[in-house]
Every structure is written in structure tokens, then in C-alpha cells.
């Protein structure tokens, strides 16, 4: 199910093959992130959703295939050019990955201090602006170990957009949040995307929540895209994989159990031993 229009794609993934050792993660994947849109990437755990973000960021190198960011092949760039490119990407890691020796304020200021020569007063304005957007202006003096999981992720979100990147990648932004924080976080992703003119990708397995704020969605399984389209198209997709995932059924093409040996035989073997 290749994407139909590729004219306005900020990130273009073509024929991506990747794996760890013998384990195949991506087996010929195609995917586009269109400019100005929020794209959702969903799939069962272990399908390499986080790995894809790292591939886009150039932390891993694909075995085959290409990933282009704004027309540049991410994995053919020199290290200096790659670092330059990464300034145009923001990423929010699953656990926040805040720098634990810096306060909330300094964490958000970190990319600005590293990559700009702005005067302190302007850094302060920018940091407070970003922190206000995630509702944590008042928490700026706290340290990461004093934050709840949800707060840490909101700080990470503020940090991800500190340099006003073109692309923001959210790795499981909703997992483990209470309903209020979840609602806030979702609206925030949408608002940030539209207000700042970003392109966003959300990697998640919170299906209804993620679909509700996405313009386009991909469902991935076994290293391939099994369904793609607008949230409505995906929901009505004919793919068995997609239906099993969206409805949360234990049986289907994706097996819930890790290995398939017979349970009864396993029990008997122990009894006999």
C-alpha cells in the first residue's frame, strides 16, 4: 500500500530494510511524512517504531533502502551535515530522556545554548514561551527527579520544539499518562504542529487517541506497512492485521504468545521430569 502522493513529503522512506543481528525489523517499508501534517505510526510492541525514529535521525544505518529528509539522503551525509540536519528535527523520547543534572529550565535552554548565540534575555523569553505552552512555566526550577512521568514528557516536548524544528518525532507520547494529561498532551501535539507549522510523527499504540489527532496513519506489522490512509480509511481497512490491532483481539495474524510450543505438552514434560 504505497502512499499515493509524494510531492509534499518532508520525510520519504523507500524500501527500508533493517534488523538487529538475525532479527528482521523492517522488510521493505515505504512511508511518507507530509509537510504540515500529523502522521501516526502504529503497530504492536516490538515492530520497530522507535527504531524507525532513530533511523530517520541517522542514529542507525539502514541495511538497504533510503530515507530522505527534505530531499537529502540522511545516510549519505557527512557527520557535520548530519548534525546540521538534526537541528531541524526534534525528538521526544519515550521516557523524556531529560538531562538529569540540569533543571527543567536548563533542559529546555540546552539546545538553544548549544546551537545559538542568543543573548541570555532572549533565551529566557524563548524557554518560558515553550514551557508555558506545555503548562510548566511554574516548574522551571525543578529538577528531572522531582517531576512525574507525565511532567517529564511535557518538558521533553518543550525541549523538542526549542529550536523550532521542521519535524518533531514523538515516541509514545501518551503511554502511561492519566486521562487529563493524555487529553492535554494530544491537544498540545496538534496545536504545536498547527501553530508552529511543523510536521509531526507520533509513534504510539494508543489507537483511538492517536487517530483522533492524526491526519494520516500507518499501521506496521512484521516490518511492513499493512494499512495506510486517513484515520477513517485505516479504520475501515480490509487488512486482517490492521483489524486485529485496531480492535485489540488476541487471535489473528499477530500471535500474542512468544513461542508456539504446545502448552499441554510443556506442562506434561515438567510433570514427567
Amino acid at each position: 500500500m504505497a502512499p499515493t502522493s509524494t510531492d509534499n513529503a518532508l520525510v520519504r522512506v523507500r524500501g527500508l530494510h533493517f534488523g538487529f543481528g538475525r532479527r528482521v525489523i523492517f522488510d521493505g517499508m515505504d512511508l511518507d511524512l507530509r509537510r504540515g501534517q500529523v502522521t501516526a505510526l502504529m503497530g504492536p510492541s516490538g515492530t520497530g517504531k522507535t527504531t524507525l525514529l532513530r533511523l530517520i535521525g541517522g542514529q542507525y544505518r539502514p541495511h538497504r533502502g533510503s530515507i530522505a529528509f527534505d530531499g537529502q539522503d540522511v545516510h549519505r551525509l557527512s557527520r557535520a551535515k548530519l548534525l546540521e540536519l538534526r537541528k531541524r528535527m526534534g525528538i521526544m523520547f519515550q521516557n523524556g530522556a531529560l538531562l538529569t543534572d540540569l533543571s527543567v529550565y536548563e533542559n529546555v535552554a540546552f539546545p538553544l545554548r548549544e546551537h545559538t548565540r542568543l543573548p541570555e534575555s532572549m533565551i529566557r523569553d524563548l524557554v518560558l514561551l515553550k514551557l508555558d505552552a506545555v503548562g510548566l512555566r511554574g516548574a522551571r526550577h525543578l529538577f528531572p527527579d522531582q517531576l512525574s512521568g507525565g511532567m517529564a514528557r511535557r518538558v521533553a516536548m518543550a525541549r523538542a520544539v526549542a529550536l523550532d524544528p521542521a519535524l518533531v518525532m514523538y515516541d509514545e507520547p501518551l503511554t502511561g499518562l492519566d486521562p487529563i494529561s493524555m487529553g492535554v498532551a494530544m491537544r498540545l501535539i496538534r496545536t504545536l504542529n498547527d501553530a508552529l507549522g511543523l510536521t509531526s510523527i507520533i509513534v504510539s499504540h494508543d489507537v483511538p487517541e492517536t487517530l483522533s489527532i492524526s491526519d494520516y496513519a500507518y499501521i506496521v506489522s512484521n516490518g511492513k506497512v499493512v494499512a495506510a490512509g486517513t484515520p477513517e480509511q485505516v479504520k475501515s481497512s480490509g487488512s486482517e492485521w490492521a483489524q486485529q490491532f485496531l480492535k485489540g483481539q488476541p487471535d489473528g495474524p499477530v500471535r500474542f504468545h512468544y513461542d508456539n510450543s504446545d502448552y499441554g505438552a510443556d506442562l506434561m514434560r515438567k510433570a514427567l521430569a
Binding site: R86, A97, P111, E114
Partner: protein
């Protein structure tokens, strides 16, 4: 046999990796030096915070040397030479070695655990994704700080052991060696060469311990067991490296005039 070859290959792979890592660290150092506040912060955490343990250990080692040295020397009627005895042992040998062992336990293990946890909690990845090179921002300042702090700590150790509270307190104040002979014999017999021996040793030990510590931390498996193993490796490998290198350096510097 095959297993032995595997172990050897694994060991050589580690050594090669560590050398490459050292080269990368040194390459990142000039740019790290451009941010002196980061270096100052690290010198504080590996150096200043290791001072208490260094000072206390120096005092006790000096006091023990005072007692033991006096007991031996007094048999020959040579207790006036206590100062030289303590000074040479401490400056040439115990100062750099004991300080380095303490440094490995106090600062090296902390460096490894800190960097290992930064790896385990994705902080290093996050930096890379923010286009900040962790070699430059995290590794190089810590390595450089260890290299600078170690000789300074060794110097403090020597001063504590020979002068203020160690040999002097026991020899002169307690056992009644003449203060004038204690100091004048040190001035007459301890040469610049002896001090250089100590300085070279502490520079080498500082570099090796910091190298092992940042390498182990950076390559720790990203989980709690990995960090614990890396921390243990740092202490064990640093201690062995210090003692072995001490022998090698002493052998190279050995001369009788």
C-alpha cells in the same frame, strides 16, 4: 583451546575499541576546552569532592610511616633520617599509587556510573539527536578533569603524609625527632628527580583511570546490571592497571648514582 582463543579475541577487541575511544576523546578535547565552565564543574566533582578521602588517607599513611620508620631507624641510631624516609617513600611511591587507587574508587566509579546511567536513560541518544556530540559534551570534559585533578590530589596527599599531620606529627611531635633535622634532611636528600617521578606517575595514573572510567561508562549495557558491571570493571581494571604501570614506570625510572 577454542574457548581460550575466543576469550583472547574478545580481550583484544576490547583493547582496540578502548584505543579508538581514547583517540576520539582526545580529538574532542580541544572543542571541549572551549567551554571551560564544563571542565571546572567536572574538576569540582572528580577533584574537589575527592579531597576529603585523600586528606584523611594521607594523614593515616604518614602516621603509620612515622611509627614504622622510627622503629626501624632508631635501631641504627638513625632516627634523624625519618624525614627522608617518609618523604622518599611517599613522593616516589605511595603518594601517586594510593591516591590513584582512592581516585579509582571514589571518582572513577562515579564517572562510570554517571555516564552508564546517561546511556541507559537515553540521555546520550537525546544529545546526539539534538546535534550535540556526547564525546565533546560529556566524555572529553570528564576525561580531562580526571587527568588534571589526579596529580593535584597526589600532591595534597604527599603534603598531608609528610608534613602536616603524618610523619611530622608522629616523628617530631610524638617521638621527639628534632624538627630541624627532619626538614633539613628532606631538603638535602630529596631531589627534583624524585618529585618528577611522582608527578609523571600521577599524570599517567590519572589519564589511565579516567580513560578506563569513561570508556566503561560509555560502553555499559543500557540496564542496571550493565551499569553495575561497568562500575565494577572500572574499579578492578583501574586498580590492576595502576599497580602494573607503577612497576613498569619504576623500572624505567630506576637508576643508581
Amino acid at each position: 583451546m577454542k574457548k581460550a582463543i575466543d576469550i583472547l579475541a574478545e580481550f583484544l577487541r576490547g583493547v582496540g575499541q578502548a584505543q579508538y575511544f581514547l583517540a576520539a576523546t582526545l580529538a574532542a578535547t580541544p572543542r571541549a576546552l572551549a567551554k571551560p565552565h564544563l571542565i571546572a564543574q567536572q574538576i569540582y566533582s572528580v577533584g574537589v569532592l575527592s579531597m576529603v578521602i585523600t586528606v584523611i588517607s594521607g594523614m593515616f599513611i604518614g602516621m603509620v610511616l612515622g611509627l614504622q620508620g622510627y622503629r626501624t631507624l632508631v635501631g641504627f641510631g638513625a632516627e634523624e633520617s625519618l624525614g627522608v624516609f617518609v618523604a622518599l617513600v611517599v613522593v616516589r611511591e605511595l603518594g601517586p599509587v594510593v591516591t590513584a587507587l582512592l581516585f579509582a574508587g571514589r571518582a572513577g566509579s562515579a564517572l562510570t556510573a554517571e555516564i552508564g546511567l546517561m546511556r541507559a536513560t537515553d540521555q546520550l541518544s537525546a544529545m546526539e539527536m539534538m546535534a550535540v556530540d556526547p564525546m565533546q559534551r560529556v566524555v572529553a570534559p570528564r576525561f580531562f578533569a580526571g587527568f588534571v585533578a589526579m596529580p593535584l590530589l597526589a600532591a595534597i596527599f604527599c603534603v598531608m603524609a609528610i608534613g602536616i599531620a603524618g610523619g611530622y606529627a608522629i616523628g617530631v611531635e610524638l617521638l621527639g625527632v628534632d624538627a630541624g633535622s627532619y626538614w633539613s634532611q628532606i631538603r638535602a636528600q630529596v631531589e627534583m628527580d624524585d618529585i618528577w617521578n611522582g608527578v609523571v606517575k600521577s599524570l599517567v595514573f590519572g589519564a589511565v583511570v579516567s580513560w578506563i572510567a569513561v570508556f566503561q561508562g560509555y560502553h555499559a549495557a543500557p540496564n542496571s546490571e550493565g551499569v553495575s558491571r561497568a562500575t565494577r570493571n572500572t574499579v578492578v581494571m583501574s586498580s590492576l592497571a595502576i599497580l602494573a604501570l607503577d612497576f613498569v614506570l619504576t623500572a624505567f625510572m630506576f637508576k643508581i648514582d
